[in-house]
Amino acid sequence: MARYLLTRAWQSALTLLLSTIVVFFGVRALPGDPALALAGEDRSPEALEAIRRHYGLDQPLPLQFAQYVERMAQGDFGVSIRTGTPVSSMLTTALPVTVELSVLAILIATALGVGAGVLAAVRRGRPAEWLANALALIGLSVPHFWLGLLAILYLSVATGLFPASGFVPFLEDPVDNLHHIVLPAVILGTGLAAIIMRQTRSAMLDSLSSDYVRTAKAKGLRPRAVITQHALRNSLIVVVTVVGLQLGGLISGAVVTEQIFGLPGFGKMTIDAVFQRDYPVIQAVVLLTATAYIVINFLVDLLYSVIDPRIRVTGDPA
């Protein structure tokens, strides 16, 4: 186990370094100049030069990178070129919104997807399966930004059931917070729910026809116990894998969803930063996303061995 953790930590560090390099040079390779964006009306060469010097943009790229990594190692994400506020303080306000939105979306998607998937497998060839399949198809094929717009139109503007936009921090007013975030979370979760549903359904069909389910029936267990304790437990590994794999999609989905519902999260911050060539913010956001990805994939791997005792965590390459 210790060896496994060590290998894993080493791999993670390498991944982070690589993503840092890619992002650092990637954003600088994009056309556009932050100095131009900042200069506003006064576009004299002297003014641009002063701005570049102020942010260290006049230095050679390798030197800039070295300085960046050095500051990063000290936990200093730099200062936003656009607003002048420290990136770390921007993150502390934006991060909780995105984390809450994503976690809620995963929870909703898992509950809906697993529920519908089990139902579709158990009621195979009956109306419940057709309904579940149809909903999954809709969830997969309708883009969620459009679903989001429809939801705002019918559930917020027309009926006033949910606020159309805005955000209230959880600690300020938990009820109002959930009221604001439930609709975006459901919209963000639809695609994931559909994927989870399909995977759960096929995994359940497999386990329901397995020998150990026959054994469970032969023991005289109730259908509910056969389904949940025997068939579903063996299908969960698929659900965990799917959630882990779809995380990237979820994060990019969160960016769009936040934009539609006007949530002051990561997504809005990223889009603004990209448009303004706000290098420090983009770098911080990407690095944080990469870290989240690595951490969650690590948790997924650990979950595997909890769900399926046959999978052992070792340092040996698979």
């Binding site: 020998d211 150990y212 054994t215 023991k219 063996n234 046959r310």
Partner: protein
């Protein structure tokens, strides 16, 4: 097809625990109905071990599964299965659930796939006790340790918390047996319990089954295509072919004087020390078990039988007493193998 029931004072020990009468099973498929079992009748006395043999696809497992209603809902089942006089065919699921695992328990062929890979063996044994005996999880676990000891698993207290993949094939099958006998069932149905195991392990498993019969008085229906297993453990044998019972006899009778041509074929297709003495080739039975959509009024073995004639294809032979003297030896054959006595008579003539 008429069935002449077992007669004679010698066989009438007491009322059988399990009575199967004229059981037929068919499955609707995309290409039409498939008849899997046709008019099978069989008794299982208390503490008796009955072996059921036949090639793959001759209806052994379907018969076994239909006893406790474990076939898929699409199966059409007619006839009667009585456990201590209670009818099981067509009974409500909730009633069958109380029978399964408690009165009639199963052991399946492949202990690796038949045990749930993500639950400890203790949990899987305990589950039966929790459902049928209303035991708490803790009590069930303690009983599981006793059961594991009973089926000959060493250091059961540690093994109870292991997962199936951590045990060997033989140990897993012992776990299956422990699970099956947890509630002291009247009937144990063992469907190819030793097929996936090597020979030494097989002997151990058969010994466990024999012990359980002796200690708990469980009746066992053991299904196999291995005549060696039958010879080792069974009191009586039922030979099935294409969904029908073609021969039924006490084990020694069957091996000494097979009456049905199919039984004779099976015997000469299995290596027996002395019989072939290393020189003879094993005789195979040409052809395959037919898949039947309807049961014909003919001997279904006729196409593969060396002694078949036109009469065999015209009407189905009844299952009747095979020869004078042995009233518990029944066979369904128009041209049975000559019995030793008639051979002797022929020689004397």
């Amino acid at each position: 097809m008429t069935t002449v029931e077992r007669a004679g004072a010698a066989a009438a020990v007491d009322t059988p625990v399990l009575e199967i009468r004229d059981l037929s099973v068919s499955f609707p498929t995309e290409t039409g109905t498939v008849s899997a079992v046709d008019g099978v009748s069989l008794d299982l006395a208390s503490g008796e071990i009955v072996g059921m043999v036949g090639e793959s696809g001759c209806g052994k497992s379907v018969t076994a599964m239909s006893i406790a209603g474990l076939l898929p809902a699409s199966a059409r089942i007619t006839g009667s299965v009585r456990l201590d006089g209670t009818e099981l065919v067509g009974t409500r699921e909730s009633v069958l659930r109380r029978v399964r695992g408690k009165e009639i328990a199963y052991i399946f062929q492949e202990p690796m796939t038949s045990l749930n890979p993500v639950l400890t063996v203790g949990r899987q044994i305990g589950e039966v006790l929790q459902v049928h005996e209303r035991m708490t999880r803790r009590a069930a676990r303690a009983r599981a340790v006793e059961l594991l000891t009973l089926v000959g698993i060493p250091s059961a207290a540690q093994r109870v918390d292991t997962y199936p993949h951590q045990l060997s094939g033989g140990m897993r099958q012992r776990v299956m047996i422990a699970m099956a006998v947890a509630c002291g069932p009247k009937v144990l149905v063992a469907d190819e319990p030793t097929t996936a195991l090597d020979v030494t392990v097989q002997a151990g498993i058969l010994q466990v089954l024999r012990d359980l019969r002796d200690r708990l008085g469980t009746s066992i229906l053991i299904i196999t295509h291995d005549l060696g297993v039958i010879a080792d453990i069974a009191d009586r044998v039922v030979v099935m072919y294409a969904g029908r019972v073609v021969e039924r006899a006490p084990v020694n009778d069957l091996f000494a004087h097979p009456y049905h041509r199919y039984t004779a074929g099976l015997l000469s297709a299995s290596p027996t020390p002395g019989r072939h003495a290393g020189t003879d080739r094993l005789q195979e039975i040409p052809g395959l078990v037919p898949v039947l959509s309807t049961q014909p009024d003919a001997c279904t073995f006729a196409d593969r039988c060396p002694a078949a004639d036109a009469g065999c294809r015209d009407s189905a032979p009844p299952l009747e007493v095979a020869r004078a003297g042995g009233t518990d030896h029944l066979a369904a054959c128009w041209h049975p193998c000559p019995s030793p006595r008639s051979q002797i008579e022929e020689v004397n003539r």
